[in-house]
Every structure is written in C-alpha cells, then in structure tokens.
Subunit: 225 residues, 8 copies
C-alpha cells in the first residue's frame, strides 16, 4: 500500500485526495500559524498539485509567498492560490456557474466562492446586490442566471433570495447564509433557517459564510456533465 | 372615581378599556374553562359592548351560545363573536385591509386576522396562497394589495413573503409568522427571525400565529385617518 | 398573458410551474384537509400533469383515491402518486441516484426521497443501515454509491455519515438530517448542525426530514447532464 | 423599459425605489468601506435624491463629506444625511411621532429613529428615560404621547415598556428592542421576546436596535392620513 | 448518629429535613406512581409530620386518600395536603403574603403558591388578573399588596408585571414565570427572561410554573421576622 | 473476507461487532416496528449471541417473545434481554459498578443502566434518591460508592449530583442527565449543561436519558482491568 | 402634585424613589458616558441622597470624582459610592448577610453584592471559594452562613452551590449565576438554568452577574424584620 | 479535625484534595490575576505537592516563574507545571493513553490533554490530524490507538471522529468537542451535540475545549488497573 499522506507532525497532508476526491487538499488557514500554512502549501506544491488556501489574512499570504513565489492573494476573497502552468486538471471553462448576492456586504463570501470556482476551472458569472427588497434588479438578471449550470445564492439577514430565485428558474441552487446583519440575525442563524425552510424546490444549503464549500459543491455537480 | 372593572373572582373584566383603548376587552380562551369564557362574555355583553373571543374551540362556543343566543362561531378562525345591532363603534367599511398568505396551511391564522378586522369594522381583502415559490401569483395580485390602507402578510416556514411585498409596495406591512412547517422551522421561530431581519422598509412583526394582534395593529393604524 | 394558476379559494394551483421549473406543483398535505388535497390533486390531473402528494396519511389517500382512481399510496414514504401512462416528462432511468441511510429508523425519510426520485424518472439505489458505528457496512457498499450520479445521505442523531462518505467519494452529496433520536438530538437539530459543519467537500444540506426536497435537488443536478 | 438601477459593480443603486416605495434607497453602512458608501451617496445625490446613511462611523462620514459637501453627521444616531433645499418630498411636519425610551442607554437607537423620522419630514417628540421601574415618569408624559399619531417605544433588558404604554393609549405602537443589558438579556433577545408576547393590543415589533426601521414603519403609517 | 432517612427502595424519605430546613419533605408527584406517592405520604404522616404533595392528579389523590383518610385535594392547585390537628409548626397567620397574577390562565400556578403558603401557616392575599395591559386594575390593588410582608407575582407571556410592581412598592418580590402563552413565549422562556432582566430592584425569580418554590421562598423570608 | 453483516432489507445486522467491539449489536427499538425488532433479535440469537433490546414497550416484547421464548422483559428499564446459558462472554461479577440517582423519577434511566450493566456481567450497586437537597443521604452511602470501580450518576433538573460526588471520591464518574423536571429544565438540557461544566475532576457525560450508553462506557472502563 | 423627577435631557433622575422604594436611584454606568454619570451623581447628591454607581470603570470614577470629592472607588466591585456623614437611612449593622462564592473568579460579582449591601447598612460576611468540588470547605463555613439572616450564593460554571447550601440551612437564599466559565457554560446560561431548577427549597435567582440586584433583594428581605 | 485547606482570602487552597481525589488542586488561571496564580502555586508547592496551572498566558507564567524557579511553560497547551524530583505519585508510564485530533486547529486542546496526562504519569501517544474527511489517515493509525488503555478524541466543527473510532475499537473513548470552526459550529456546540448523540458504544463527553478534564478522566479510568 502506497503512502497516502505526508506527516508534518502538526498535520498529515493528504496527497491521495486528488485521486480520491478529484482535487488536492485545500488549506483552511484559521487556527493555523502562517508558518504552518506555508509548510503545508509547499508540500502540496512539491507533490505536483495546485495550492488553494482559504480564510487567509495578508500576514499568512506573505509567509506563503516566501515559500512559493507564484502564490497570489485574492484580497476580498481572503484566498491564496498557486497554479501550475500545465495544470493536469481538465479545464471546464465552458461550464458556467452564477454567483448571486443579496447585498454588497455579502461580497467577501461571494468572492470566496467565485475565486474557488475559477480555481476549479469553472467560468463564473457574478451578479451582486440583487436582494428581494428591490426585486426588479433580480428580474433583470434572470436570463444570465438561467444560462448557468448551477447557481450559488449568497444572502444574510432574512436570507430570502434563494427562495425567490428557486421559484423562478430550473437550475440546482446552493444557498449560502452569511453572518451579515445585526440583532436577531444572530450571526447568520436567521438566514440559515430561512434557507433550510425554503418552499421552493431545488435548494440545498451550506454553512454560514462557507463560500468555498458552495463552490466545491457546484463543481461536483458539474463533474457529471 | 368610577368602577373601572368588574370582579369575577377568577378575572377582572375591564369595562373601561373601550374608552381607554377604543374597543372592549377581548377574551383569549386558551387556559380558561368554557364556563369562565361564557361568564366573561355575558358580563361584557350586559355592559353594552360587543363580544369577541379568540382561540375558542367548539365546546367553548356551545357554552357561550347558551349564555348569549346571538353568538356566532367562525370555525377556521376559531373565533366567537356577538355584535349589537345598533353598534356604537363607527363603521369603517370604507377602509380596506389586505390579508395575504404564503400558503393554504396559513389559513387559520389569516382568518383570525380577517374575522377580527371585520369585527372592528374594516373591509377585508383576502389574498391567499401567493408564496414566494410562485411569485407570479403574487405579482398578479399586487394591484389589489396596493389599494389597501394596510397589509397583513401571514407566512410560515421561510417567511420570506413580507420582504418581497415590502420591496414592491408603499403601504405599512404587519408580518405574522406562523407555526406552519416542520424540522428547522422550529414552530415558527424561523419565520419570525426572517421577518425581523427583513431588508425591506415598512415592516413590523407580531407574535407567531397572532392573527388577532395583527388585525388590531392594523385597525389602530387606520384610526388616525 | 395566459392564466398561470387556477383559483380554488383556499389555494392557487400553479399549472405554469411545469414550464417554469420542470415539474408540476407538488401537494404538501400537512395543514390541508383530505378534501382540499383531493380537490387540488384532481385539478392538477385534469390539467394533464402527474400528481405527487407528500406527508399524506391513509385518510387523505382514501379521499384522493375517490377523486382519482389511479392514485397509489406508498405507505412508508407517506406519498400519494398518480402518473399518466404516456408521460410527457423524459424518462431518465439511465441516471442513478443512491439513497443511503445511517439506521433503520431513517427509512420513512429515505423512502420519501426514493419514491420522489422514482416519480421524477430516476433510478434509485437503496443502501440502508450503514451508519458510522459499523463502518465496514459502508465500505462494502461504496462501489454501488460511486456508480451513482448523485448521493442522498439520510441520518439522524449524530448525523456523521455524510462527512465520512464525503471523504471517500467524488460525487455531490445531499445530506438530510432526520428527527430520529432522543435527548440532545433536539429533534434533528444535532444532525443538522453536524452536516452543516462537515469538513468534507461536496456536501449541501436540506431541512430536517425533508426527503422530498433532497430528491428534487438531486433531480435538478441530473438535469444538466 | 427605463433603467431602474445604476450598476456600480459592488452595488446596484435603486433609483426607482423613490417612485415605488416613496423614498430613495438608504445606505446601510456596516459591511461597506467608506469609499463604497461615498460612491453610492454621490450617485443617489446626483440622481436628484436626498441621502440617508445609517450605522455610519465618523471615518465613513469624512469620506462622504469629501464627495458631498452638504453631508451632515448625527453623532449619537450614527447617521449621515444630506437634503436638497427644494425637496420634492411633501413635508409632513404637521404629523407628530413620539419616540419613547426606557433608559438612557437606549439613546443611540432612539436617535437613529428620531433623525430618520425628521429626515422623512415628521415632527418628533422625544420622551427619554421613562422605564417601568419608575412608572410615574411615564404617567406624567402620557399626554404628550397621546397627542402623537404613532408611538415608537425603545427598550432593552426586560423590554416591558411597550406593554405598559399599550395598555394606556389608543395609538399604534412600534416596539424596538435594544441590545442594552447584560447576562440573560442575551443582546436584546430578552427584550424582543417580551415585546413579541405583549398582551396589550396595537403593538408590532422591529429588529433589535433597528431605530431606522421603526421610523420608516411609522412614516408609512402616517402616509395614509 | 440517628437514622436520618427511611429507605423505601425507590425513595429515601428525609425525616430529618424538618429539623434541618424547618419543614418536612414535600412529595413532588410527577414521575412517581400513585402507589409510590401514597407510600411516601404514609411514612411522612406516621413519622408525625404533615403531608404536602404537589403536581398531583386526581388519580394520585385517590391512592393517597386510601392510605391517609384526612388527605384533602386542592383541585386548581393540584396539591394533596394532610395536617395534624395539633400541629407542631408555629402558626404565622399574622404574617401576610400577597399572590398576584397577570391573567386568569396563571391561576393553577398561583393556587399552588397560595395553598403551599397556607399550609406553611401564612395568610394569603389573592389578587388575580391585574396584568400590565390594564394597569388601573393593578393601581387599585396596590394598597393590599403593600400591606403584605412578601409579594409573589405570577405572570406568563411577556411577564412584565413584576417589573411594574417592583417600581411601585418596597417589599421583596418573588417572580414566577408561567408557561401560559403561545408562539414566541416558548413555554415560559420569554417570561423568565423578562423577569431576570428586570430593572426594578428587589426581585428574584423561581422556575417556570414553580408556585410551590415561590411560596417556600416567601416563607423562609418571613421566618426571620 | 468473511461476511460481516446480515442483510434484512430494512437493517444490516452487524454480527462482526462482537469481535470488533466486544459485545454484539444491541437493538434500539424506537423507530422500529415490533416485527422488525423480533426479526433482528432472532437473527442475533441464531448467530449465537445474547440479545439486548432497549427502549422497548410491552407490545414489542410480546412480539420478540413469540420468536424467542427465553426473552425476558425488564419493565422499569424498558429492556428485553435473552442470554445463552453457557455464555461465551467472561463473567465479571467481581467488578462492581455503582448506579446513583438524585431522585425517584430518575429510576427508569437508572434501571436501563443497571440492567445493561448486569447483562454485560458487572455487579451493580443501586443507590437511589440521594440528591443534593438532602446531602446527608449521600454522605451515608459514600462508602458503598467508593467500593465500586466506576460510578454512574443519574440526575435531572439541576443535575448537581455528579459535581458533589466528584469532589468526594476518586473513581471515574459517568454522568447521565435525565429529562426529569419541568419549566427551564428544558427536557434535560439544564442537567446536561450542569454536568458538562462540572468543576470536579473525573467526570464525563453521556446523552440525556442514555442509561444504556453509560453502562456500556462503564463496562469498557472495566475491561482493561 | 410635587415634581417627582429631575429632567436632564438624556435622563430623568427619580428623586422620589427613596420615598417610594426606600433608597435613591442607583446609576447603572454601562451605556452612559463618564460625563453623564457625573452629572446624574451630582444631581442625586445635591438632592440630599447618597450615591451608588455600579459597573463603573476607573475613567468614569475620575469623572465623578471631579464633581463629587467624597466619591470612593471599589475596584474589584467596580462601584463608585458617596455617603453623607449624617445619613438619614437607618443603619442596620446588626443584620448580617452572608455572601458565598464557589470560586475565586466569582469575586467581582460577589464584591458588587458586598459593597452594595454595606452601602445599604448591612453587615457582610464574606465566604469565598467554597465550591462543591471541595465540599469540606463549605461544611466548615456552615455555622457562619447559618448565623446570617439572608444568604447570597455566587457561582458560575455548573452553578451547583446554591442547591447544596439550600439542602443544609434554613435561610432564604438568593442565587447569582456568573458568566465565569468557558465552552458550554454559555456565558452563565448553564449556571442560571442549574439554579432555576434547584430541588432545594428557599432559593430564588437574579440575573447573571447581578451582584447588585442580589444585595438589594437581600436588603428588602431584612427590611421587614 | 486537621486543617483541610489554606485560607488566602481570595482562595481556599485544598491541600487535602490529594488524599481525597488522588492529586493536588489544579489552578485554573482564567479569572485570576497573575499574582493570585503565583501565590496559590507557591502555597501548593510549599505544601509538598506538584503544581499544574491551566489556561495560563505567558504573563501569568512569568509571575509564577518568579515565585517558583522550577516552573515550566508548555506554550501550545497553555499550561504551567512544576514537579518535585522525588515525586510521591506512583509513575504509570507503562500505561498509555492515545490523544487523537481531527485537525491541526485542535492542537491547543489536545496538548492541554497531553501535558496533563504526562504530568499525571501516563505515557501519551499523539495522533493528530486524522479527521473523517480523509478516513485512510485514521485507518493507518488504528493499531496505535488500539494499543492504548484509553482514547481521547479531540474534534471541532462536525465532531464526527469519536463516532467513527467508537465503531472500530473496544477501548473507552473520552470525546472533547472544540470551539474550532465558524458559522453554525456555534463555538463548539455543534461538535458537542454530535458527540452526545453518538450511536457508537463506549463514548462519554467533556466540556468544549476541556483537554484538561479529558486527561483527568482518562487518568481515573487507569487508576483501577
């Protein structure tokens, strides 16, 4: 049996994941030191895989940058990425995913989804600030949403946008509640419950602020095409 | 100082309320025996006021019916009412209130609001089953909603309907979450939070399943006209 | 503009949904009387669509049966269905969906998903009682899961099964928490949170006990193929 | 069809809202950068509308001030406003709204409501620090409250003030729970639940700390007069 | 060392409690069979103590009645009591405790407190149905409340009554939230939080529906007099 | 590779568990029909293992009894058991486990633990009704507790008993919160949190009402001896 | 009717409270600026009353000190006090109140209670760090507790101390949950629920960290003596 | 009766604990000043016991270091320890405890457990970063886990790891939920509920982030060997 992971002491890098799950281990930076992230990133890169690190602050990026010159920082998305020129993963830029937000404050989560989706080879259609309080903005953008294979809907506060879109189009919708809001939004709990209870068909939900997870779910959906 | 209330031992009937608040004490039947409700109803009636009893089951109605021949039972709304022929309260049938529901299961709450509003002299426009999962049903009924002075929106599960209507019309909206749903609707908590967090302006919320309270709030709003 | 829905007073049947969303309005029976369900079912059928009614007890089925001779009752799934012989919807029996449960008590939710998926023309692979407490049962069934286009994972109590499957296969997973359990399972809340927080990529979650919603999400995913 | 909104990339400014809802889009500053707020404010102003930006800190104000010389900062209310001299909106200074607080710590929320109401052309009667623990302070101020068309009641901790006022006057009451308190006030949840469960008729509730929303609801109520 | 308790297998009757805490062990009937309650009651009685059993249904009473002829059932309070003619406990009928309720539905809890207080030798002043929605009813009864040594205030729903009374009188107040209400009252949680967060001085709270505990706390307070 | 489980369609009986985990699969009856339980019990028995079925009502027992004559019903514990005469499992009657309850209402959970422990070959010391409100009852029984290898402490309501015992003895304590109580006990949540937050060393907690799980944990602890 | 309060714009100082409730208005500093606190303190002092300000940081103290030379700061208790030499309030130093804590981290809350009680003229017996994990420390201090008229018990984490003391003594106990702890202590919620559900008689609870409220409740209890 | 504890005013050091519970009082540093910790540490040391202080920051360590030259700081574990050369406690380095984590971010909690276990004389096997999303990493390490007497499993987010391990091995498992995660992990609540509801036998749970408590529970388990 071949060695499936690399032991770093504080972490076991899962080089086998690419074969098993279709893409290499992604680094979730929160709770890891910049040095730990840089070390893991380097190991993944040396093993011949592309690197994606989420929830990264600028300090972590600088640490990774030293170890990996090609690393790039996506500020709003808080993502560090590094891609091989001759990437082995089949490019799917013919497949489009729409990323829709209710408000401007949902941007960091939406960009986390967008940068991840682009990293995975999808074409991203960004449609921002079309919340239900001004539904004509949504209606105008419906055709662009309908042309996509999958739709990610990002919304905080009341989180009603996925339900409305779900009643209008016939694509699978991945709903992402955000912690945007105050008072009884309870840091995204309100939006999460709204999305969970949607009457519209074809909606499933990921964790609060989990733009990355939404993009990966979207990518798995497109893999069967 | 005149006697403001009547002592029944288990209750103090507030005959003064009509002068103070504009309408007589309403009987909330839950937690009261049929005999207690009948006794209170009779005292209110004898004092020259109309009678309204909410959350009444059929057994309670039969008990009231014996004491008060003119009592009428509204089955879906679970309300008992009795009105004087020459009612002293100024009829306001020129003022219209719209009562909108997301689904069919919201009917009992919506009817509680509707019967209460009619009892208070308002004209009620019922618009049922226009939830956000089929938004064209709502759009078609917008003109009727816009002709109303106040709009009551009743919705369970994700409770997104008030937000959507709130983005489209310029009337005050009273949102009523209902306990309709299952799982993470948590008996109306999900809908309540959604409505509380609405981005649309001009929305305020009453308790879960409180159709009566919504109608009374609506009536107070119209009193200044 | 054509008439998009049919007014029944207590409900507005959305005949246009089939064109907009790909399949006709489904009847959610809870909160509706048997007579109301029968009436709506009949209208949908007369309009040329197949009928699917979820959360139906036997009494509701008998009421529907009278109005619609071809109606069939799926006991464990609590579903009433009626299909036209020459169904217009393109059969997709070449596309397989796996429905996996952690335990025996999750069966009603899993069957709700399975019957819905079959109604929508998918081939269903049932893999029941393979929870994480005996993981060899899961490992043995992995090949069957991997041959499916989409995987629905149904689990109550700790709800850990989607995470484990998510680490092993490269298909999109729809996780369904169930209200199975006692004590601190809090009627499915524990399982819901577990699934929401999954570290494994490619998982999205629907409402507690929402087998129907999972199947529909699965069907939308397969539509792009 | 005319262009209803202006695309700024990170936001879609809804210039049509004034026609649809009666007043222009308001800027909610949290989650937006000072530069973004300034850009949106400028666009709204250039389009001929007055500007109102809530939850603004001083840094955001300075950014807006550069773009819009006439901008004014209301410190306690955390609001930026800018009004055209010849405002198109009909002044309603003949209509009075009372804003009542339970304690001194509720002032920022009360001022958010007051400044918003004044911006919308209402006359505001401020009645602060009349909580139920010293009810004679409330009784003394009842006449001023009763002369108002609508009453906004702002309270944290136990949040009992709306119930008490609701039993004494015959005006519509908009209750605003605040996050004032500690321990089991749970950042306003306690006050929110108290207000939701009020036995007094004619009360509806907005989100915790949502002074702005209360004022807008109050303004919609007065529009029908 | 003397034997402090009596072993019944399923229970250890604490005969020593009277010496330690001032009154004998009270039987909480929920979760005990009628036969178990009867057995414990008999043992307490035989040991020379008076008997008090709370949360008792009629069936349990009949079982106790067989074992203890002098047992008496207080229906509304759901209490079984049996007192020795020459009771050893010093009668305190010169000390008065006021028991105040917000509504009629709070009666069972209030009566549990009242019957317990009377059993403990206190004089009880019952003041029912004086909730904050009709505050004049409360004001009229203030003198009777002020003449008491301790005040128990029983209220459900918004639970605001203790705060209002606490602002008006200078006696210690024991607040009892009740599970009366619906929707967001969450079975007494709302009232409990309201009472916990009271701004008025001199209030402490017991468990939801715990009329018994309130009376015992009241009795301990009077013991130092 | 040998066949590890037996496929019953609705269940996969894990015959391999005995080798892997030390004892055969236990049947959790809730959510299973009497017929399903009987079938699984029979399969386990036929495979040469003893049978233990928890949360079983009398109806389920009668169904099992038909299939398995030697089955025995433990009423209070709600357990069905059947043991081979020449059991292969090594008897451990030299090892004692103490099962302590705070009150009489905790008995069903305590008995579930006791019957399970006895089934697993442990000697059980039952010490019931020694809650903290009468701590001398506990002190008297301390020697018996200290002679045990492991202590299971079962308590509802405030759940303080494990903390107190934990401060007095030097044995590992397994704390079982029960759903006994009312009001803010929130069906065991209060007791669970108390036990989780215990300051005393050497305490770990299982699910609310999970007497079975506590006994199994106790048994695993003794296995290393 | 005399003027009952003094209008400061941001506050209404309740000079009448002393007559109505027995002691002057206390200043709760959180949410008030140092300048506001100083202004209110000065007004109370000028009106002839002693001053007590709780939850005060050092900065607030310095502001008060400028206005009121005699002001004193109790660091651990976070209280500012100022007393007239010839205080009108009857000194009660013959009456003793015990203040007991479970741990060292509960000190700030216990000191808030102690300083308040001393301000109100009571003699305070401090008994700190006698939590249930080392119950012999408690037993040793029981006599001192029993000599007190009232007992305040301050505890965080599992909050079991009031239950244990309540089973041992015959004095009224005021339980104060603290926010001390981590994880599932949920900032005092765990301790609050424990205390609410206490089986021991004679316990009532105040808000989390509310040492002040506990002392005032204790003082009211002693007033009847 | 000998003096069981030492009075420091702010704390009562429990020197008797070692005899009663098997090891000396441990200092929990949160909520204590560096000076208080140093004082308590010194007293314990002078009394002849080893010192263990948890949740200590570097500042506290420096304060202790001054008083106790031999003190050592474990950075990741946030623990201060000081051991006598000729320790009286019997070394148990022949008994091994496995400490397993799901991810890298769980390290501080795992190290708190590991350092505590080593302090108590156990041999620790660290197995980090083997979460369920890459289950082959776990499978590879199973033999090392199975060789241990007790297993501590540390996991945040979905917290599924104890369930999976519990299905594979026959050792007692102590599950430690961590506050690692975001969104609906609710600071460890999700992981706590998952672990509480585990279907696998032989698992008990300690407080969120309570590595210390897990190690002590593990140590008590091994003491009977």
């Amino acid at each position: 049996m071949p060695k499936h992971y690399e032991e770093l002491g504080f972490a076991k890098v899962d080089h086998h994941r690419c074969q098993r799950k279709g893409f290499p281990e992604v680094i979730y930076c929160e709770g890891k030191t910049p040095a730990q992230v840089a070390k893991i990133a380097q190991k993944i890169w040396e093993h011949g895989h592309d690197v994606l690190a989420t929830r990264a602050d600028r300090k972590t990026f600088l640490s990774v940058k030293k170890a990996l010159k090609v690393a790039h920082y996506h500020e709003t998305a808080r993502i560090i990425s590094a891609k091989k020129k001759s990437e082995s993963r089949k490019q799917r830029s013919d497949i489009r995913i729409a990323i829709v937000t209710a408000g401007t404050a949902d941007l960091p989560v939406a960009e986390e989804a967008a940068v991840t989706a682009e990293f995975l080879g999808l074409e991203v259609e960004r449609i921002f600030d079309v919340g239900v309080a001004g539904i004509h903005r949504l209606i105008k953008n419906l055709p662009k949403i309908e042309e996509s294979r999958v739709v990610i809907v990002v919304a905080g506060m009341e989180g009603a946008l996925p339900s409305v879109i779900g009643g209008l189009i016939d694509k699978p919708i991945i709903a992402v509640p955000t912690s945007v809001g105050y008072g009884s939004s309870f840091k995204g709990l309100s939006a999460l419950l709204t999305m969970m209870n949607s009457c519209a068909p074809g909606i499933a939900v990921v964790n609060i602020d989990n733009g990355f997870g939404a993009a990966v779910m979207g990518w798995y959906i497109t893999r069967g095409d």
